[in-house]
């Protein structure tokens, strides 16, 4: 993984001292809240429902054991013993004191982390495929390109005051595990004309997003040469910076600009800007990309048939619970004998994405012992050990199982994305977490979870859609109905390569009613499905009508 050079470290250290001084001046009354607010937001510090909340960036979801351990220490020393992994591969702490903020940032900087660009109208933390560098189906590791974009966008003065926040995702496989087309810019690394072994380039999708106006990004350029990646991205941003609306925050995202101009006209303007910029030296030297690539070289994988060095008894491998976890929570790896193992932060009845300091330390230990010291944060609020030798899986599972981290529910109905909702978020209109808890408990009790197979359920507590409800096979949106929580149900969304926006079924439900409604929709699927169909496939085949009849008939 990437490690800071002296420039990176100096930038982050300087920012820590700058913000420490700003906090001091705020506490001394030399800055008003109006003056201080934009400064704290530039450092990821929000004022939330109960306290200050700090959002820490995890670039493209990749972190090492030392970093995970530092996150655990922060949870314990400055917060209340836990952290919340978010739907943008970051982590946030809910109970931060302003007087501790400088020390926390210093602790983060000591392990090459920060909270910069996790808020405000700038280019936010770049996200990527959580199986990057490991997945059997990827063309190349997308993270060097994500890192190049991170370096380009960090403190870029031209993009510090965009019309609105700006999110970029980078992937390099046909399977989309990063909701790429639902970003402001989605980039897929591809081979020219799809020819195997052909020149690599970047496919650009621009103008996607969720929120109150969900849109799927159109492809505006099928192939940008990799030695022009930054120039083209900058051209996209420049057109947005020039024409994006600043008079109405609800119409300020790039998706609105692309929609109103039309993809064709937006592309024409980007191409004109790109042509203008080509000889201006915007692109970093290609050698820099090559330098970055060296940080993402494969680790020294062991032979496929090599035995584990752990002391885990051989009989563990025959335990049904272990076998179910391997079936459900591991992903094919590019190296023979290896898999990527998903650590579930979705225990039945638990809070999606929450992890205690002890759990974080265990994950760090396992990464160091069995996973080449690497971890990934998934946007679905789980954690990945990307490189685990299959012979080590029993020992990994045993340790996870002892810590409540082995729920075998990846991509099943219990693997729910849920935003913090009204329990923590000042923007929320309704609680998300209790609904997630009740649904996971309901389906565990009924035993239907396994039978349902892949069923991605996503819950947002407001129209900002941090819980990705537009992209759920089943989506739930919490709304405020005259001071009472109410929940809209939607069906048919997807954030994968078959990206689709879910459609609302009809009138909303109470907190208890929405749990029944989800079960009703699941039962329609179980009744109507044909061999091999997922929930989403059945919905697409039979349409909304049978579901509406069952829900409201």
């Amino acid at each position: 993984m990437y490690r800071y050079d002296s420039y990176d470290q100096a930038m982050v250290d300087a920012r820590v001292e700058e913000f420490r001084d700003q906090c001091r001046r705020r506490l001394e009354g030399k800055l008003t809240e109006d003056q201080f607010k934009p400064l704290r937001l530039m450092n990821g510090l929000y004022l939330q429902l109960h306290a200050y909340m700090l959002r820490v960036a995890v670039p493209y979801g990749t972190l090492g054991g030392d970093q995970m351990r530092a996150l655990a220490d922060i949870a314990e020393k400055y917060d209340r013993g836990y952290g919340h992994f978010t739907t943008r591969q970051n982590i946030q702490y809910n109970w931060i004191k302003l007087e501790d903020a400088g020390d926390i940032l210093a602790d983060l900087a000591s392990v090459e982390m920060h909270a910069i660009q996790t808020s405000g109208n700038c280019i936010r933390n770049i996200s990527s495929d959580h199986f990057a560098g490991a997945a059997a189906d990827e063309l190349v590791d997308p993270r060097p390109y994500a890192e190049l974009l991170r370096q380009w966008s960090s403190f870029h003065p031209e993009f510090a005051y965009l019309p609105r926040k700006f999110k970029i995702a980078v992937i390099a496989s046909t399977t989309d595990r990063a909701a790429m087309k639902l970003h402001d810019i989605g980039i897929r690394i591809v081979e020219r004309d799809g020819e195997q072994g052909g020149e690599l380039g970047a496919q650009f999708y621009v103008g996607g997003g969720m929120g109150r106006t969900p849109m799927i990004a159109p492809c505006i350029n099928e192939f940008v040469p990799l030695d022009r990646l930054i120039t083209y991205a900058e051209a996209c941003l420049r057109v947005y910076n020039r024409h994006g609306r600043r008079d109405n925050k609800y119409k300020a995202r790039i998706k609105i600009l692309v929609h109103e101009l039309g993809a064709e006209e937006y592309t024409r303007q980007v191409d004109a800007e790109y042509a203008h910029m080509l000889d201006q030296g915007v692109e970093p030297p290609f050698a820099e990309l090559e330098r970055i690539r060296t940080f993402f070289a494969d680790p020294e994988f062991r032979a496929a048939d090599e035995a584990s060095a752990s002391n885990e008894p051989a009989k563990t491998a025959s335990e049904p619970a272990f076998q179910r976890w391997v079936r459900r929570n591991t992903n094919p790896h590019k190296a023979p004998g290896y898999v990527s193992a998903v650590i579930s932060l979705k225990p039945v009845g638990g809070i999606p994405g929450d992890a205690t300091a002890e759990q974080m330390r265990l994950m760090a230990d396992l990464a160091e012992r069995y996973g080449f010291d690497e971890l990934r944060v998934m946007h679905t609020q789980n954690i990945v050990l990307p490189h685990v030798h299959q012979s080590d899986l029993p020992a990994v599972w045993r340790a996870l199982d002892g810590a409540g981290l082995s729920t075998p529910n990846l991509d099943q109905i219990g693997d729910i994305i849920a935003c913090p909702g009204l329990d923590y978020c000042s923007l929320a209109n309704a609680r998300s977490i209790p609904v997630a808890q009740k649904i996971s408990e309901r389906f565990e009790a009924s035993g239907k979870g396994e039978a349902l197979g892949e069923l991605k359920l996503k819950i947002s507590g407001c129209i900002n859609a941090c819980g990705h409800h537009h992209a759920g096979h089943i989506g739930i949106l919490g709304v405020d109905r005259k001071g009472v929580e109410n929940y809209q149900l939607s069906l048919g969304g997807s954030e994968a390569e078959d990206t689709a926006l879910a459609k609302i079924t009809g009138p909303g439900f109470s907190e208890e009613g929405i749990v029944d409604a989800v079960e009703t929709a699941a039962d329609v699927y179980l009744r109507e499905r044909t061999e091999g169909e997922r929930f989403l496939d059945t919905y697409r085949r039979i349409g909304m009508t049978p579901f509406k009849e069952a829900l409201y008939g």
């Binding site: 705020r26 506490l27 009354g29 809240e33 004022l47 429902l49 109960h50 306290a51 200050y52 209340r80 809910n94 109970w95 931060i96 004191k97 302003l98 007087e99 809070i351 009204l422 329990d423 923590y424 000042s426 929320a428 209109n429 609680r431 977490i433 209790p434 808890q437 001071g483 009472v484 929580e485």
Partner: protein, 98 residues
């Protein structure tokens, strides 16, 4: 009734105006109808509170209960982590919020 709330500047903790000071307990909040702007301006200027604002509330067993669920969650703490709330040992506190 109208009650005044804000956050403690140093800790960010939710606080309520008691008539003479700021308290972590919403039960201590007093009616400030008509005076909310004046108190808010004065207290914020003195850095005794951060971003104060007034909300609607009703009297419930003799003490203030915020009218809106968001303010009740804010007063208590997360309903999904009652162990972190201001009343971790009260088994019925969830009903007060909802």
């Amino acid at each position: 009734m109208r009650i005044l709330t804000g956050n403690d500047l140093k800790t960010g903790a939710v606080t309520w105006w008691t008539g003479s000071d700021w308290s972590l307990r919403v039960e201590d909040a007093v009616d400030v109808t008509g005076n909310e702007d004046e108190i808010a301006l004065r207290e914020e200027a003195a850095r005794r509170v951060n971003v104060p604002y007034a909300i609607d509330a009703e009297l419930d067993a003799g003490s203030a209960r915020p009218a809106h669920i968001k303010d009740r969650v804010r007063a208590l703490g997360p309903t999904v982590r009652l162990d972190l709330s201001l009343k971790p040992t009260d088994p019925d506190i969830g009903k007060w919020v909802i």
